[in-house]
Structure formats: C-alpha cells, structure tokens
C-alpha cells in the first residue's frame, strides 16, 4: 500500500514538472513538489542497535578523547564529516545546533554532539575547533589517524573513503550520510538520521533522545 502511494506521488510530481516546464508560471513551487518524492521520515529506529565504538582520538584541545568513557550515560549524536565540505556537513551540524538550543539548558549541557573528521590531514585540532566554534562551541571535534576513523565509521554502518586528489589537484573528501544517536540509557546507537533531516526533525526528536526514548 505504501509503495503504491509512493509510486503515485512520483508520477504526479513528474506530471507537475512537465506542466510547469511548459506553462507560464514559474513561482518555484515545482522544486518543492520534486522534493516530496522523499516523503519518508528522517529517522530510522534500529531493531539491532549499534554498539558504541571503542574510539580514542584527539579533541580540539589536542587532548586524547575516549568516546566510550566521555559519553557514557549521556545522550550522544555522532557524525562523520569534514570542515572543507561546503554543503551537507555544515548544514547537518547547524541543524543539530539550532535544534539543541531549544532544549532546556541542563539537557543542552548533557547532550554530546561529536563531529569526527573524515579529512584528518586538513582538520587539525585547531581547524576543527575554529569551525565548530561557529556552529556550537559545546560540540566535540575529533581528529586522528584516518584508518582509525574509518574503522569506527564502518562499525556504525557508515562508509567513508580516504581523501584523494582529483584531476585538478583538489582534495576530495567524503562525509558520512548519517547521524547516529546513542541512548543515555543503553549507550547503544539506536537511531539513524539521514542527511535530509531538518532542524524541525531534530527539534521534535531531541527531547526524546535526551531521555533515551524512541521519537
């Protein structure tokens, strides 16, 4: 039934596009109807939650940061990205930051937002610190050996590739496509957010996440 509805929506959207490409009005609404193709929820509740990876990296102060130790018993969001990413990485981190500010102060302080770089050569502790300060000064930024970061991401079902140079000599990095939320009750990664999750999605769900509940 759901699949049928989805197929119908796509057909309708396609028809709308054809219409507007020919018609006189170009008010920008077709763009909105295309995006409704992705009419699924931003969050996935995992049947088999992820174990929090045993991960020790370097924080923005240049000090070792043990993910399991530092985030034990705390609601935690983990995202893999890089600061030279102009689009999805800052959008994801800003969406979380704006939603977080709407929590009561004590819950803001309790929540751990952890940004793990996938581009550790360029994202030094200082570079990460500067970037995160512009988003959420409380956010934790981690850098270290790429192989260590990649292995931790892999254990959370996230594939990232080592930065490489393209034919113009520019460095191409990859970011994770998902944010993993860990429960303060179980320390397990029980929720996944796709990159189309909005401020509103996080605003609605964070009050549940800080309690370890399902959104």
């Amino acid at each position: 039934m759901r699949k049928k509805t989805f197929a119908a929506a796509v057909l309708l959207a396609a028809a709308t596009l054809t219409l507007s490409a020919c018609g006189g009005s170009d008010s920008g609404s077709p763009v909105a109807s295309v995006s409704q193709e992705t009419g699924k929820r931003a969050v996935t509740v995992l049947d088999q939650p992820f174990t929090k990876p045993a991960l020790v990296l370097t924080d923005t102060q240049g000090k070792p940061y043990d993910l399991r130790k530092e985030t034990a018993g705390r609601p935690t969001l983990v995202y893999f990205g890089y600061t030279h990413c102009p689009d999805v990485c800052p959008l994801t981190m800003n969406n979380i930051a704006v939603a977080k500010k709407q929590l009561p102060k004590a819950e803001q302080d309790d929540l751990r937002v952890v940004f793990v770089t996938t581009d550790p050569d360029r994202d030094t502790p200082a570079a990460l610190g500067k970037w995160l300060k512009g988003i959420d000064p409380q956010a934790v930024g981690l850098t270290g050996k790429f192989a260590t970061i990649q292995a931790a991401a892999y254990r959370l079902g996230i594939t990232v590739e080592a930065p490489h140079k393209d034919k113009n000599g520019k460095i191409v990095s990859t970011h994770g496509t998902q944010v993993v939320a860990f429960s303060p009750k179980t320390d397990a990664g029980y929720l996944l957010y796709g990159e189309d999750a909005t401020v509103d999605d996080y605003t609605k769900d964070l009050p549940k996440i800080v309690k370890g509940e399902n959104p």
Partner: protein, 156 residues
C-alpha cells in the same frame, strides 16, 4: 481503504495524460533557442570565512538545450560547479540545461562552490554572480544569503 485506492488508480493516468498533452503542445512553437531564467537562488550563511555553497534552479523554456559553462562572482576568487557523487563531491567543467527543462542545484546534489571569498557572506546580504552559458548570453543573479539552516522546502 479500497475505494480510495481505486480512485487513485483512475486519477493518476489522467494526470499523466494531461502532462503529455501539454508537452506536445509546447513542441510546436519552435524557434530553436534556449530561454533561460533563474529561480529559488540562495546561499546558506557559511561557517567558513572563505568558502560557501550556493543553490539555484535554471529554467529553460526554450526549444534548445544549453550548457552552464562557468560561474563568476566579484565576491569570490573562484566559483566552481560540483556534482555530488555518493558522499563526495566532484568538480565538473559544465552542466546541461535541457530544452523545456531545468538544471537544479540543491543541497545534497549539484552545488556552486564559492572559494577565496573576500568577505564572509552573512544572512540578509546578497552575492552577485554571473552565469555563463555555451550559447545564451550570461545571466547576472543577486543571490540572497539565508540562514545556515535554510530549507527551501519550508522557506525558513
């Protein structure tokens, strides 16, 4: 549930036919040129002082395709075109604007990348860009800078 389902099955082909009819009607006024315009342009306020992403839609109402070949801006040392491939982005030298179609730049997909910005774009400001095409004359666009979390679907 059943009655709704059968109603939808009727409605969908009807709409598709209407779309096809209009498309056919369009094909008749041929003058063989692209007719380009820009809509829904925005730059999310960047975190970085020197780098930003930009999004817009180029609409082509004409009968010929065109190609976006470069973008320039007095605000940036360099503006490049990028496609998102998987979870990394790749610079491309040009992008097609199909006849009676559109070239869409949106978050998670194609984007303009502004580098070596002279000033950090702040919300409320505008950034002037010039779009250069293979066939059509350049288009100059004033792109508004929106909040860092601006979502074109909701408009905030």
């Amino acid at each position: 549930m059943r009655p709704i389902r059968s109603a939808r099955l009727v409605a969908v082909p009807a709409t598709a036919v209407a779309g096809a009819l209009l498309l056919a009607a369009c094909g008749s006024d041929t003058d063989g040129r692209a007719e380009l315009s820009v809509q829904a342009a925005y730059i999310p306020q960047p975190v970085s002082d020197t780098m930003a992403a930009g999004f817009l839609t180029i609409v082509n109402k004409g009968d010929a395709e065109d190609e976006l070949t470069s973008v320039t801006s007095p605000a940036a040392g360099q503006v490049t075109l990028h496609e998102t491939v998987g979870s990394s982005m790749e610079q491309v030298s040009s992008l097609d604007v199909p006849a009676h179609g559109r070239l869409v730049f949106k978050s998670g997909g194609n984007h303009l990348m502004f580098e070596m910005l002279k000033n950090k774009p702040v919300q409320g400001a505008t950034v002037t860009v010039r779009l250069h095409f293979a066939a059509s004359d350049p288009l100059e666009v004033e792109i508004p800078v929106k909040s860092a979390t601006y979502n074109p679907k909701t408009g905030h």
